[in-house]
Amino acid sequence: MKNILNKDSNKVLVQGLGRDGSFQTEKCIEFGTEVVAGVHPTKAGENFKGIPIFGSVDEAVSQTSPDIGLIFVPAPFASDAIIEQVDAGIETVVCITEGIPVNDMLKVNNYIKGKKVRLIGPNCPGFLIPRKKLKVGIIPGSIVTDGKVGVVSRSGTLTYEAIVQLTMLGIGQSACVGIGGDPLHGTSFVDVLEMFEEDQNTEAIVMIGEIGGTREQAAAQMIKNSISKPVVASIVGQTAPEGRRMGHAGAVITGKSALASEKIKSLKSAGVYIADSPTEIGLRLKELI
């Protein structure tokens, strides 16, 4: 599969043009993203800001050949939208929707196994590449600047926080990728780290993790073995009480490996620079470059 950071063609299809979907799609277009089609079951034949709306993904694909699918469909129907896009042959699927049932994502994850598709999310802010004026999702375009730092995070708004800190310090971004807060997700830290390592426009990496699961440990292992670029990481949730679900379905502290302290330990041993406070992410990175 080609690295999503280095594709030549980035035509976007948007599925789900309700209140949020429409608002955010407009922001993507304003940023410079080439949105070629919308999909909405009851708005077929209409257009949104001059972009044709189709009744099905299949139809939209055959007429507009999009490279990326962006999903704002409500949670009860979102897993079906992912499968519809995969079946239509879209190679990069970005699902913003939050609150998709675990069982639905279980089916999706199994369905896409071995298929030629990169799923980002769900429950994520999508990705943004300033250099290409490509914004696929909800990361605010006003806070990014073009540069050499790759940002990857599980949390949406915390991604923005890190980006702002970098931008304020005059450090631009090569790409910002939100992988989402759900425990069953598509693209992982490891996948994005791999993309950043490959990407010639990325010179350093910011990674923001949180309590719950063992994704950060997997990332640490990967960084140790195959990442040559400097990585700054911050893990949030150090003050979270144990055993409580902190909003993100993934952020439940169960078992020792899910603790912030364990994750920090394993990242440190992989040579990652740790920002002790989420307010110091930008400063830590500045020290390195």
């Binding site: 209140r19 949020d20 608002f23 955010q24 922001k27 949670a75 009860p76 913003i96 939050e98 049932p101 675990v102 069982n103 639905d104 279980l106 089916k107 199994n110 802010p125 909800i138 605010p140 006003s142 806070i143 995070s153 599980r154 949390s155 949406g156 708004t157 915390l158 991604t159 923005y160 926080e161 702002v164 800190q165 304020m168 807060g181 425990p183 069953l184 923001i208 949180e210 309590i211 699961g213 911050s234 949030v236 949730g237 150090q238 003050t239 979270a240 009480p241 055993g243 409580r244 679900r245 902190m246 909003g247 993100h248 379905a249 993934g250 952020a251 002790d276 406070s277 989420p278 307010t279």
Partner: protein, 387 residues
């Protein structure tokens, strides 16, 4: 969403998982009648959303209906705090009266989701009746996990392998085989995130029965389980958290805190708590207003935070993405007008429509201190708390 033991057992019973005879009681008198119908010898179990009831006095043996009545009267109307419940006291409004079993051996059986493997997992252990975390630590070889391909279901050969590891006799093996399949079916069809039978007991007559049952349902899937939603016992969570739940807000009260936090996004909310702590103040709560919060939802969030008497200062940290800051600002003002409660606020607004939002708040006449970023906000918190 968690269910009570008696509710979980009803679900098990409907799928023909063997359970002891029993019935729920709301008074001593009811308990007495049920105990009588069960033959007198029974167990009285407090129905609360917390594990570790036995050690906390929430499970009592009764030798006759009068004793059952007495235990029930003592429990109902009181509350229970267990080693698993932290600071929370859970009110006991119902007790479950169950026939006493003569236990030969206790096992552990659960179905849950293994997110690392991205599939459901069946967990079995010969060390039942204990805290499974403790078993995992002390006797890891006594726990067996079966990962299940959701498209195939539990493979018979995997269950056979599990059974052969522990050298069960033929009769118990076939019972266990059946129970595992039944539990998995319940797990999938009810969108559970956990079914735990601890203990699964071998009782006199060589029968396996579920002596306890814990079921947790995926909150995100409740829209398709209206029947299960009705089972939820609202008394088991505190009023603010219940109010939050009804308004789609993720809220957790933290004891001893003084800075109320209103944030969008779980990650940023956790970071905001961490920053508050690093600034030398304690966060009073975790609150994520969610991605596309409406004015009403923000208004309720404002109400929940200001209803907490511990809160001396509010830190609002909103980063507009899918959330529009102007909508949030209006929600805060509406909350202020409707609930007439005012607490000084340190406000950080960035992203979508944040400038509009600042103007809206500036004109509101509320006591608000704006900060451009989080380090500044941390300083402002200290200043406002007089430190």
């Amino acid at each position: 969403m968690q269910l009570h033991e008696y509710q979980a057992k009803e679900i098990l019973n409907n799928s023909e998982v063997p359970i002891p005879d029993g019935k729920v009681a709301k008074s001593g008198k009811e308990a007495q009648e049920i105990a009588f119908s069960l033959g007198g010898n029974c167990v009285v179990k407090a129905q609360v959303h917390a594990g570790g009831r036995g050690k906390a006095g929430g499970i009592k043996l009764a030798n006759n209906p009068d004793e059952a009545s007495e235990h029930a009267d003592n429990m109902i109307g009181s509350s229970l705090k267990t080693f698993q419940s932290g600071d929370t006291e859970f009110p006991i409004n119902e007790v479950y009266i169950e026939e006493a079993s003569s236990i030969l051996k206790e096992y552990y059986l659960a179905v849950t989701m293994d997110f690392d493997f991205k599939c459901p997992v069946i967990i079995f252990s010969t060390e039942g009746g204990m805290n499974i975390e403790e078993v995992a630590e002390k006797y890891p070889d006594k726990i067996i996990k079966i990962h299940v391909d959701p498209l195939i279901g539990p493979s018979p050969y995997k269950i056979r392998n599990l059974i052969s590891v522990f050298k069960f006799d033929k009769e118990i093996s076939s019972q266990l085989y059946k129970i595992i399949n039944q539990l998995y079916g319940i797990f999938i069809s009810n969108d559970c995130t956990l079914i735990e039978i601890n203990p699964l007991a071998l009782v006199e007559g060589n029968n396996l029965v579920a002596l306890d049952a814990k079921i947790t349902i995926d909150d995100d899937a409740l829209f398709r389980h209206k029947d299960l939603v009705k089972l939820f016992d609202e008394a088991q969570i505190n009023k603010s958290e219940l109010n939050a739940q009804k308004n789609d807000l993720a809220y957790i009260k933290l004891s001893g805190g003084e800075v109320g936090c209103m944030v969008n996004g779980a990650g940023l909310a956790m970071a905001t708590m961490d920053i508050t702590m690093k600034a030398g103040a304690l966060p009073a709560n975790f609150l994520d207003v969610g991605g596309s919060a409406s004015e009403e939802r923000i208004m309720e969030a404002y109400n929940i935070i200001t209803s907490d008497d511990d809160v001396k200062l509010i830190l609002v940290n909103l980063f507009g993405g899918i959330l529009r800051c102007d909508i949030a600002a209006r929600g805060i003002i509406e909350g202020f007008k409707k609930y007439k409660k005012s607490v000084p606020m340190v406000v950080v607004l960035r992203g979508t429509n944040s400038e509009d939002a600042k103007n809206i708040l500036k004109e509101s006449g509320m006591e608000i201190y704006f900060s451009d970023d989080l380090p500044n906000a941390a300083e402002e918190i200290n200043k406002r708390l007089g430190r």
